[in-house]
């Protein structure tokens, strides 16, 4: 919302307050002022002049040589504007004048003719021409003929004004008008205002010839005034400039008056060509199925029964509260005008605007709520202005439906000054509270303990005591509220076990060299296609782009994208992880909200950095497995690895991670096709279900005594078929000797293929540790156990001791 300083100053004494001061006061009361811009953007030394004579330039076809009267003296000025003509009054930049954009005017020669200044267009004066009618925006800015020649244009063009750009919150629709802002400023500054409480109906004879029928409950009030004749159609300069200051485009006098009054009173108005209204009867109703209407912007709109239209008995002539119809548009030939001032249901107006992608000034005010008390006054005010400016005559009294005056009552709220002070935590004096309400124009009646505060319909946002507390607080000043400590019991926070696991995991991974990433949950089915996740994607109704139109079903594509970005930006590789959600649905749309599964995803891509002790090498499966092992150990979880079958992982290089037979995660090298699809070549992915980790994790430690008797280690190198998994040897050793006996640990410490090992085989070096809590074991005992293990290995796998 833009607001003109000079317009406000008409109703309120602003003496001693600069526009910047005013902006500060408004902002600290909750009406944020984003910008304070002088309308004059640097015009200096430009005067009003009259073109006396125009002759062609002897050397240039498109230039003209003009004699211009600038008040007692005559200047010869070269001009290229097509609309220059004798008799026009225009802005003249004299030599030495300054124009916006740092332009300085000097005496200049144009093909042999000296030009002693410049005739200006609106654009050259720095005016926002999008708010001017077309003929003012193109060519020289033609001014009213009665302006004093030689006078500075700044005051005559009303450029000595300042525009506030207000960022109004949606609750303050009352401030979408000069009326509302004047009341607000009056309360903030504690200065009386002169804005009229109401405007009386202009005098007119008899009843209105217009008939109005309300056929929908969404229009609780409709008032209309018929006017005859509109001889003058040029909007006076002052009104054009005021509309420009407020950021509303000037179109023609009748339309401009309706907009002007809307800006002044906050009540949107509409003007119809009364001769286009069949039978002089206005019907407000819901649109019919299949009904169409060409709106003022020339668009044909398909209407739905949820939309409200203004119609006559034959056809729709406007979209109520949103935009008029072309068939009843005010045009140069319009003789009779029907002015509308009405109330429409805000939600309905909002839906219509959204459905048709329209966002008119009127619509914005209706959807936030207009003051029922302003409906009649705005109509009367517009009538008055059309009589004054256009030479129109009211025909009959306004037609009002329902006929009785508006019965909207002010809201009455019971207010306790004591409760207010306690709620805010600051002892605002009662007199101060009362003064606030009175300055706002609220009625205050004292009662026993509580007051009755009467809030005018102008302020629909005030409905309950808390709203009044806010009025007190913001007008008294939020800076008066002290910083206090709550008096709350000391309590242990609720257990945040899940949070603590996430933190523990995050910290451990960071300590082990992984970088945490955070990626977008919105992705595209195409980005997920290479891994073909199960289920269907949860899709947005109206995505902003194809790249982000579904919720992700997997973390891998997100991490692969990070890897791709880094590899493409001179990062040779890395290890990354994310704690994020996957959104799972079996069909979409479905009956229940999608499942949000929180997982830990990790990805190793590219090469290690390399150092003097180790050459750069590609990250591999065992880098990932090492981290998985360490993470499980850190969380106190014992898990087993089983070969798995994820299609997007390398068929021979993946494993599921299981606890008691149930998976908690998996890891594996990306399938080469997948690596290629994501442009990351080789990478290893691992994933854990965080809820599962959380339910399994344990930080309990029960200390066992350090053994008193020495342990014995036996190293066995056995030759086995290549495809045998080393875990099989370990499991077999435990099965053979049992886990309650003297065998304490079995570890594979070397894998060898090459000279001395037959083709299709490998040599595994396995260490077995034996120990007893009771005594030192004898060699014979240990030998016996080793023999048993070797026998079991041979029987099960054909394992042979390596020579």
């Amino acid at each position: 919302m833009r607001a003109s300083y000079k317009w406000l100053a008409e109703y309120l004494d602003l003496a001693g307050l600069s526009p910047a001061d005013l902006a500060d006061r408004l902002t600290s009361a909750g009406l944020a002022v984003d910008a304070v811009d002088p309308l004059n953007r640097g015009v200096e030394g430009v005067v009003i002049g009259k073109v006396l004579d125009v002759r062609p330039h002897p050397q240039a076809d498109r230039l003209k040589v003009c004699q211009v009267d600038v008040g007692g003296r005559q200047l010869e000025i070269v001009c290229g504007a097509p609309n220059v003509a004798p008799g026009l009054v225009v802005p003249v930049a004299l030599p030495g004048a300054k124009l916006p954009g740092g332009v300085e005017i000097r005496i200049a020669e144009f093909r042999g003719v000296s030009s002693h200044g410049m005739l200006c267009s609106a654009d050259e004066l720095g005016l926002e021409t999008r708010y001017l009618p077309k003929r003012d925006a193109e060519g020289l800015f033609v001014l009213p003929a009665d302006l004093p020649l030689g006078a500075d244009v700044v005051p005559h063009l009303h450029l000595d004004d300042v525009v506030f750009d207000l960022d109004l919150t949606p609750n303050r629709s009352d401030c979408l008008s000069i009326r509302g802002l004047v009341h607000e400023l009056s309360a903030i500054l504690r200065r009386p205002h002169r804005f009229p409480a109401s405007v009386a109906a202009p005098e007119a004879d008899g009843e209105s010839p217009l008939q109005v029928r309300l056929e929908t409950p969404r229009c609780p009030r409709y008032e209309a005034q018929l006017l005859d004749g509109a001889e003058i159609r040029e909007t006076p300069l002052w009104m054009k400039m005021r509309l420009l200051a407020m950021g509303v485009r000037s179109i023609d006098l009748v339309v401009d008056v309706t907009n002007y009054v809307m800006l002044e009173w906050g009540q949107p108005l509409h003007a119809f060509d009364a001769d286009a209204i069949a039978q002089g009867t206005i019907v407000v109703r819901q649109a019919r199925e299949g009904e169409r209407l060409v709106t003022l912007d020339g668009q044909e709109r398909a209407l739905t029964p949820d939309m409200m239209v203004i119609a006559d008995p034959e056809k729709a002539i406007g979209l109520a509260g949103v935009m008029g119809g072309e068939n009843s548009e005010i045009g140069p030939s319009t003789r009779r005008i029907a002015l509308e001032s009405a109330r429409f249901d805000g939600a309905s107006i909002r839906r219509t605007g959204q459905a048709l992608s329209l966002r008119s000034e009127a619509q914005q005010r209706f959807e936030k709520g207009v003051d029922p008390a302003a409906v009649s006054s705005a109509l009367h005010r517009a009538t008055e202005l059309l009589v004054q400016l256009a030479g129109s005559r009211p025909v009959g009294a306004p037609r009002r439906v329902p006929p009785q005056a508006d019965v909207s009552k002010p809201t009455v709220i019971s207010f306790s000054p004591h409760a207010c002070a306690r709620f805010l935590g600051v002892d605002v004096p009662e007199g101060e509270m009362r003064a606030c309400f009175e300055a706002l124009g609220f009625g205050v009646e004292h009662g026993e303990g509580a007051w009755r505060v009467e809030v005018p319909t102008r302020r629909p946002d005030i409905q309950a005591p808390a709203d009044l507390y806010e009025e007190v607080a913001r007008l008294y000043g939020y800076h008066h509220i002290p910083a206090t400590s709550m008096r709350l019991p000391v309590e242990a926070p609720e257990s945040s076990g899940h949070l603590m696991i996430v933190r523990k995991v995050r910290r451990a991974l960071v300590d082990w060299g992984l970088c945490e990433v955070r990626t977008y949950a919105l992705t595209s089915p195409e980005a997920e296609a290479p891994i073909a996740p199960s289920g269907v994607p949860v899709a947005l109704l109206r995505p902003m782009s194809d790249d982000r139109r579904v919720l992700r079903r997997h973390l891998l594509p997100s991490l692969a994208e990070v890897a791709r970005h880094n590899l493409a930006h001179q990062v040779p590789g890395g290890a990354i992880f994310e704690v994020g959600k996957m959104f799972l649905a079996s069909s979409w749309p479905q009956q229940a909200l999608p499942e949000e599964q929180q997982v830990l995803g990790m990805l190793w891509f590219g090469e290690t950095e390399g150092n003097p002790f180790e050459r750069p090498r590609p990250y591999d499966f065992y880098d990932a497995k090492g981290v998985c092992d360490a993470l499980l150990a850190r969380l106190g979880i014992r898990a087993a690895y089983q070969a798995s079958q994820h299609v997007y992982l390398h068929p021979g290089r993946q494993a599921s991670i299981e606890v008691n037979g149930a998976p908690v995660g998996f890891l594996g090298e990306l399938h080469p096709d997948v690596g290629e699809a994501y442009d990351v070549k080789r990478a290893v992915y691992a994933q854990f279900d965080l809820d599962r980790l959380f339910s399994l994790a344990s930080s309990d430690v029960r200390v066992r005594p350090i053994p008193r008797h020495p342990a014995s280690r036996r190293d066995l190198a056995v030759v086995v078929p290549s495809e045998l998994e080393s875990q099989a040897l370990i499991d077999s050793a435990w099965r053979t000797l049992g886990d309650g006996g003297d065998l304490r640990l079995v570890r594979v410490f070397d894998v060898y293929t090459g000279v001395g090992v037959p083709e299709g085989h490998k040599s595994l070096a396995v260490a077995l540790w034996f120990q007893s809590d009771e005594r030192t074991l004898t060699d014979a005992e240990i030998d016996q156990a080793v023999v048993a293990v070797l026998r079991a290995w041979e029987e099960a796998f054909g394992a042979k001791l390596r020579a």
């Binding site: 959807e367 936030k368 808390a466 206090t484 709550m486 019991p489 926070p493 990433v517 977008y520 150092n611």
Partner: protein, 348 residues
Amino acid sequence: MSDTWRHELETIRNEAMASLANTSDSKALNDWRIEVLGKKSALSQMSKAMGSLAPEDRRALGEALNRVRQELEQAWRSRQAEMEAKEKALRLERERIDVTLPGREVPLGAMHPISRVIEEIEDIFMSLGFSVVEGPEVETDHYNFELLNIPKDHPARDMQDTFYLTEEWLLRTHTSPMQVRTMERMRGRTPIRVIVPGRVYRRDEDDATHSHQFTQIEGLVVDEGIRMSDLKGTLEAFAKALFGPSQRVRLRPSYFPFTEPSCEVDLVCVSCGGAGCRTCKGTGWIEILGAGMVHPRVLDMSGYDSARYTGFAFGLGAERIAMLRYGISDIRMLYQNDLRFLRQFRHA
């Protein structure tokens, strides 16, 4: 005893001592020992030849011979010790390494800056007695809007452009639905003190200051007698903990449908300390979060009688704090995950 013998002994001794001084390594020293003290040495020859001497002479010469042998042995031992020390020193010198080479690397990862900020803020509020809870990212219109006093077709919905999944389901536009979910879960028990970190989504085009996905931290306190000044006190304590003891907060009136009164909360600009700079557009203050007293309708709809209970709520953007804190000028940096950026957060 013959002077010849004596003289010869003297010569052997002198020559041996001289050649000992010339031994340069342990091999030469060993050769010297064999030559001077070994079975075939001149000394040994002399001992053997002594048998032909008269007993007195033999005894006298034997003593002299023994003395010389002991003297030479002693000299050999000390020469050996000296040489070993020298050789050891040489060997150690040869073992000198380049201490300026990097150590065997312990890889250091990095926490994402947003996580850093969230953990820090969680810690501050936990120390103030708050619990940390989390909620769903896919929400219903009911929780995200209606129960927060934002009815359908209400202009306040324009404040948050929403990603809808269906007519009723959406991606939460703020963490505020957890205010309602928390009150419903607590079923009237008090006090409520929670913070809720989480991802939220808005239909904004991504640019330097907007992201369609970002991270909020919601706070909620409900009890009897909670005052607006408590909101200010709590946020000031938080600001001091996060940005230092000289911090202050400033409240400015604002509007959120689910709080009344509502405020924007400013901190003293962290770049200039309040003097005015580009970050704070010369005002000395930076907007950091939105807050307010829980709207009575929200309390009532969530099962807390607004005539009895009051409360406050606040919501802050983790990205904004991270950007201020670490000097990040473009929010997209936080979601690009360039390791050259993330690795700068290695130090804890």
